[in-house]
Symmetry: C2
Subunit: 189 residues, 2 copies
């Protein structure tokens, strides 16, 4: 998506350690009109996938997921993060390791909100090592739901998440694909 690449190039900040800071419009301050354009783009890319529900993870996934849900006219469920989790029969949960923060989180979705009749689209703001997306896929599997698509705002294509999702055969679409952040410069695929 050209508009997104332009925005990353002009407003994104590359920090040491392959970190791309886009808190200006994506994950701290949000530009709702621009986010709505991304929702329209996802709706177009996944229009033939029979999507009935969108799932994401709090917090940065919520805005793109909700605006995609608005465009596709389907409900959105966001998984909650927990440091630890007491046993609870009413939720599906999965472990997610954060490479950035070097912490383990559990993420969970209430069993009432995901089931075997769902055709799921997973939406998230970033795809790097793929841990969050894999956690959501694991939850969908536990619920017996189909995952028909994965939509990512910004993909770091040089990290392993892209290949893992692609190899699983799921329809993957990323609005911006970054080939490299070396020398503190954004290079797109």
């Amino acid at each position: 998506m050209k508009l997104l690449e332009d925005k990353i190039a002009s407003e994104g900040l590359v920090l040491p350690g392959n970190i791309l800071k886009v808190d200006q419009f994506l994950n701290h301050q949000i530009d709702p009109m621009f986010m709505n354009e991304m929702g329209k783009e996802f709706a177009k890319l996944f229009k033939d996938d029979g999507i009935t529900k969108i799932i994401t993870v709090e917090s940065s996934g919520i805005a793109p997921a909700v605006l995609t849900g608005l465009q596709m006219e389907v409900p959105v469920v966001f998984a909650r993060k927990h440091k630890s989790l007491t046993l609870n029969d009413n939720i599906y949960s999965s472990d997610v390791y954060s490479y950035t923060k070097q912490t383990n989180n559990k993420i969970s979705i209430d069993k009432r909100f995901i089931n075997s009749t769902d055709n799921i689209l997973v939406i998230d703001d970033f795809l790097a090592n793929g841990q969050a997306v894999l956690g959501l896929l694991d939850i969908a599997k536990k619920a017996g739901a189909n995952v028909n698509g994965v939509g990512i705002v910004i993909e770091k294509s040089f990290q392993k998440g892209h290949k893992i999702i692609k190899d699983s055969g799921i329809h993957l679409e990323s609005l911006a694909r970054i080939a490299s952040l070396e020398n503190e410069k954004v290079t797109f695929e």
Copy 2:
């Protein structure tokens, strides 16, 4: 907002301890089309307040804030929650006590995203004791920003938040006002 009251009456669940569970459409599963209607309602209620920016707190405030921002065509900033906080010169932060969870959190907003030229609308999903809203007002004050409105999806009018905000003189609008949750029954104002 009649549509919201109907939805609370039909889908809300009252639990012991004055807890109203609306995770079916507001804070776990989200109905984006319905949320967009709420955004339109907030945009109408605050149209004369000269709003230039919306602030909220992660995670449940994000969806209503973003859809209100979409309708008002202004940026949205969500404050992040932290268990503790290392000193950081680049953020405004405030302490927020959660009566439900009986924990203290810090919430913070990057100094780049709030300043003295802003006319702020605070949006949140719930108003009970008002701690989260007061934390956001405190951050706005530290930034020298004006707060011109507070918009709440569901207000528990029998708890102290409503009175505190009203007494401060800020334009407060709540889409649903609950007078009582006694006997596990929702009674609106």
